[in-house]
Amino acid sequence: MIVAGIDVGSKNTHVVVLKHGEVVARVAVPSGFEQEEAARGGVAAAAAAAGITVSDIDYMVATGVGRKAIPFAQHLVTEVAADARGAHALVPEVRTIIDVGADEALAIRVDAAGKVVDFAANEKCAAGAGAFVEAMSRALEVSLTRFGEISLESTKSIPMNAQCTVFAESEVVSLIHSNTSEKDIAKAVHDAMAGRVSAMVRRAGLEEVVVIGGGVAYNVGFVKALKDTLGVRELRVVPDPEYLGSYGAALIAADRAAERA
């Protein structure tokens, strides 16, 4: 049995292919302006990577903000459902799932069976998602990876006044002009964003074990800042965090294909 999960994000589309429950391909492509085209390309690339053809795929489930643009998926699920399914499979003890993407962030609380109990989202405001950190790294003219890394070297806690990505860019420029060190600026930015994400998590309810997925989970500076702000003993980054949604969608595809059989 071969299934695929497609997560159509505003920035990137992720595809995971499972063969008998095992991951055989993971592909990420830019979503661009034509989401259906990007998704088709992603699925084709994933099939090629798995050594199969697209028609070998028995069932496809799409998730993500652009899922409705995918007519060739047999079923659509919300990001909440996909993330919950994926996280519970990876970490059965999970109770709180945090997914921070470029444009939005989600917090999902699940019970012992992986059933969704509550959730909260930071959406439609760039300051509450990855776009914020990315924009600040550009203002500081360092790569996003380095931006996260240097923030770990700072011991200061400079609160940011601006709560908007556009105004924060000017604030970062002012901090640069006032000779604040790069690492202190980086920490200030990550702390500011962690504050907004942790407030979102509290709206869903915080319960350990807490895991984090989504593209921003690769940012070591952000993960540390969020862990400190939440005050939890451990904040676990799921393996291949950017594929959390598509992995969960693929598992749901496998569930549904099995039901059909």
Binding site: D118, N122, E123, K124, C125, A126, A127, G128, P159, N161, A162, Q163, C164, G195, R196, A199, M200, R202, R203
Partner: protein, 93 residues
């Protein structure tokens, strides 16, 4: 005066409104201690009335600051609303 503190951004509208005409009546100022985030302070306003206002730095972070008090099912039990006897405070969300 109706003072609306807060903001609207892409994700929604978050205004904490204080009716200063009612606030002036208050003897107890219980809101100051009731708020776990210490959002309220008592100051003389522009017309020299001693009334409650929201701490300047918090006005742009109300969504985050108030998140801890808001259960997903309605906010009737918010400590600030309970503490304000003149019913001068209201939340837009």
């Amino acid at each position: 005066m109706i003072a609306n503190y807060g903001y609207r951004d892409g994700s929604g509208e978050y205004y904490l409104t204080i009716d200063t005409d009612r606030c002036i009546e208050c003897r107890g100022r219980w809101c100051v201690d009731a708020c776990p985030q210490s959002l309220f302070i008592i100051e003389a306003d522009d017309y020299d009335d001693e009334v409650a206002t929201i701490v300047l730095t918090a006005r742009k972070q109300l969504k985050e600051k108030c998140a801890g008090c808001k259960p997903s099912a309605g906010y009737e039990t918010l400590p600030c609303l309970t503490a304000c006897l003149p019913v001068a405070i209201s939340h837009s969300w």
